[in-house]
């Protein structure tokens, strides 16, 4: 018997025992969907009362978390994780020079990898979700579950699943209405392959103030956190990486009009990112 014949016969034989009770499975599914729906509604209600106050004109709009912000760990010091909730948003923190391991927004507490960023000098602030490298520029780390079909209408309109791959997400973000985008190009960062693209809001009109909540929402993370923009001309430089099957997004964003030196500094910070598996179960 050839390998092909063996495969056709053997694979079928090895799955014969899988005869699920469809009524039972459907009932389980309905319960799960109902539960998730309830949790999401409760989280949205919780987030509505939460305000992220960072102290910069532009930054408050960058992240709007539903299930809470992700924590920061310093592998050199400790590996403890806060248990975030919608009402326990972390206050902005000043960060001393050093090496920090940042969790991606929406990443499960036990998931790896974490992004390791070395902060050499200058004033850095961290509000539990994004690292501000100075006025009007920041780095945030994401898992992206869904992309908004029309960013101007944010949560009041529909979302689309961008698929599972880096290319699919890059394509979805590159074709979002309202925003300008460059064509995605291959990139490598910290040993992971991926795609790089830049998106930006038009510098003038359509008026963002006319959008729902006076902001533009690009995507939603796995935990429901929203990537929100509120400034015309805001630029997002996106590294979308395939980290051994986990799709991770590094978003270096800045307001229009910052200097080329400041943009270069942001780029250097991103390009120096490495990844650590320290929080992987069993390690």
């Amino acid at each position: 018997m050839s390998v092909e014949q063996r495969l056709r016969a053997g694979l079928a034989a090895n799955t014969v025992h899988l005869a699920p009770n469809l009524d039972h499975e459907l009932a389980v599914l309905r319960r799960r969907v109902h539960r998730r729906h309830k949790v999401r509604r409760a989280a949205v209600a919780g987030a509505a009362g939460a305000v992220v106050a960072v102290g910069l004109v532009w930054l408050p709009s960058v992240v709007d978390s539903i299930n809470g912000m992700d924590g920061l760990t310093d592998p050199a010091v400790e590996q403890t994780e806060p248990t975030p909730t919608a009402t326990q948003l972390q206050p902005p923190q000043g960060l001393e020079p050093g090496t920090y391991a940042f969790k991606f927004i929406g990443q499960r507490a036990d998931a790896a990898p974490r992004a390791v960023i070395e902060l050499t000098s200058g004033a850095f602030r961290y509000d539990g979700a994004l690292l501000s490298a100075g006025p009007n520029r920041a780095i945030s780390l994401w898992t992206v579950a869904e992309v908004s079909v029309d960013p101007c209408y944010g949560t009041s309109r529909e979302w689309v699943d961008p698929g599972e791959t880096v290319a699919e997400l890059a394509a979805a973000l590159a074709t979002q209405p309202l925003k300008n985008a460059t064509a995605p190009v291959p990139v490598e960062l910290g040993g992971y392959q991926g795609l790089y693209l830049e998106t930006s809001l038009p510098p003038t009109g359509p008026d963002i103030a006319d959008c729902v909540d006076r902001s533009v929402i690009s995507w939603r993370a796995d935990d429901g956190s929203l990537r929100r923009h509120a400034l015309a001309g805001e630029v997002d430089r996106l590294w979308i990486l395939d980290a051994d099957g986990d799709r991770l997004v590094i978003d270096a964003s800045h307001a229009p009009g910052i200097s080329t030196d400041e943009i270069a500094e942001l780029t250097t910070m991103v390009e120096s990112i490495t990844f650590t598996q320290v929080d992987q179960p069993g390690q």
């Binding site: 063996r6 053997g10 694979l11 090895n14 899988l18 499975e25 290319a167």
Partner: protein, 166 residues
């Protein structure tokens, strides 16, 4: 979900669930995890069904989500602990074609998925490529390598098994 939507969703669920589950099982070789992955994919489908976004080919969509999720899980668990290796061995022993199951399980997850879609689901290479999100030439490469490796593993197994004549 409106009544019409519910009926449509149930129809897709009943027609696709078992088939998706079996393919996912052939990638993960673990019934519990296969059920979890399949359920997750259908939960996501159901949630989208309730929303405004229309999915043109829901069966293909849910299959794609489940298979890619299974591949990711398989990639993550390639380094198995001793306990799970033993559990896996016990699970294999209950399968009708144990040797084939072990050989397929030795393939990299993407090759396993390509083999399951091509030989078990009998899908053309173009469709396998769409489901895996890769090119047709990559699928052909996966299948070629998988067949070569399986032939090697199966011939090793034949050599290890003593003859029936005693």
């Amino acid at each position: 979900m409106r009544d019409g939507q519910r009926v449509e969703f149930e129809w897709v669920f009943r027609s696709a669930y078992s088939s998706v589950l079996r393919t996912v099982f052939l990638i993960l070789h673990d019934r519990g995890r296969a059920e979890e992955v399949t359920q997750d994919a259908f939960v996501r489908l159901c949630e989208r069904w309730r929303g405004v976004v229309k999915i043109d080919h829901p069966e293909a969509w849910v299959r794609q989500v489940a298979i890619r999720s299974a591949i990711r899980q398989a990639q993550k668990s390639r380094v198995l602990s001793v306990v799970s290796q033993i559990e896996e061995a016990e699970a294999f022993d209950r399968l009708p074609d144990v040797d084939l199951a072990r050989s397929v399980a030795a393939l990299p997850p993407r090759q396993r998925a390509a083999v399951a879609l091509f030989y078990f689901e009998d899908r053309p290479v173009e469709e396998v490529a769409l489901l895996l999100g890769v090119s047709t030439s990559t699928v052909k490469q996966h299948l070629f390598r998988a067949r070569a490796r399986l032939a090697e593993l199966m011939s090793e197994q034949r050599e290890e098994v003593p003859g029936d004549v005693g």
